[in-house]
């Protein structure tokens, strides 16, 4: 059993290299339940890599991630998959929608994987698309959406199953200020409603200012002086 004040998620000494590129060189951080954390830093500083390690998509070479008292590296593959489906919502930076499926079908996917009733899944998915201002692309395939529409569909898909942590990589990156405001508001208000924590990778200062706390990455390290 974890204590109420325990962090929901901690990472200790994460290292990850791609060939000779050291994307993460020992990053430690923690996330409290319901907390909104911004991850900022220059291009190539390791933000997306950190997010993917936290979400259990990438395996760090050293260090470990702990979620609700459990080390991700000690879970079996099927336990990790289950965790990703039920507890974590992920909005990736690039190409994440299934190209053959329409907007609403993409949003429904996590619910269907969790064996929800199809009709109910469709109704709640349409509701999420509306809330994010993307109702008009419910029956459109990703190839025919604008970048911002696709981004909103991806956010809807990350939120639809009511995750405990939402990871979002540049969720407002392709959006103008007002559309970005709307997506961020939907993301944060739904997180508030369900008590979910949110990790936002962002270059957008409005987004960073909305977070409770900020981690700044530089060359694969969390600048300790920059953790506010």
């Amino acid at each position: 059993m974890t204590e109420v004040h325990d962090p929901l998620m901690t990472a200790v000494g994460l290292r990850k290299a791609f060939g000779r590129t050291e994307a993460l060189r020992g990053v430690s951080m923690s996330l409290a339940p319901g907390e909104v954390l911004a991850v900022t830093g220059p291009s190539g500083s390791g933000k997306s890599t950190l997010l993917l390690c936290l979400a259990g998509v990438l395996r760090p070479e050293a260090g470990h991630v702990q979620y609700a008292g459990q080390r991700l590296d000690e879970l079996s593959e099927s336990q990790r998959t289950r965790l990703r489906r039920r507890e974590l919502g992920l909005v990736l930076q690039f190409g994440q929608l299934v190209p053959e499926l329409t907007g609403v079908q993409n949003v429904m996917m996590p619910l269907l994987l969790n064996r929800h009733d199809r009709a109910a899944a469709r109704t709640s998915s349409l509701g999420w698309l509306e809330r994010l201002g993307a109702g008009q692309v419910a029956d459109v395939v990703p190839g025919e959406m604008s970048g911002g529409e696709a981004q909103r569909v991806a956010v809807a898909r990350a939120l639809v199953a009511g995750p405990r942590v939402v990871f979002a990589d540049e969720p407002t990156g392709a959006l103008d200020t007002l559309s970005g405001e709307r997506v961020l508001e939907a993301l944060l208000s739904s997180a508030r409603d369900t008590g979910a924590a949110v990790v936002l990778v962002t270059h957008d200062n409005r987004v960073a200012a909305t977070a409770d706390r900020e981690i700044v990455l530089r060359d694969g390290r969390a600048d300790p002086r920059l953790v506010t």
């Binding site: 200062n205 409005r206 200012a209 909305t210 002086r225």
Partner: protein
Amino acid sequence: MSLGHVLLGVLADGPAHGYDLKRAHDERFPAVKTLAYGQVYATLARLERDGLVEVAETTQGAGPERTAYALTAEGRAALLGWLEKPEPAGPYPADDLVRKTVVALRLGADADAYLRRQREVHLARMRELLALQRATDAVDARIVVDHTISHLDADLRWLETAANRLAEGRGR
């Protein structure tokens, strides 16, 4: 923009007393210097002399006599004429953010640390403004806050670029 235009602009919302004008102005533009009453009354007198505003009503309450002013047709025309001309795009003078950074570099002091402290202050202010903006439904109030936020954003981008330039300089 002259104070005359400022007051005419506030009167575009409807007749008001000098006191209310000051209050409406200070509330709507929280980021700029507040108006002084003396200035407001002197300017109203000049605008009245020039026919741009007129006395709408004088009331005698318990206190001193209060005069409400209204925009005249000429006042409205003056505002419309002023709207026709876009403002010059700058130049924006190097402000204290830039000066401090340059001085830190000249002194060999910790410029990074300064940039970081400044980012925190700017982010905190942006957080307050975003909350202020969310708290209102008035379109004009939201637009006013957008302007302040955009300038803070420009400063924040500059702070980030400056920090990256310093890192780039060290890497060479």
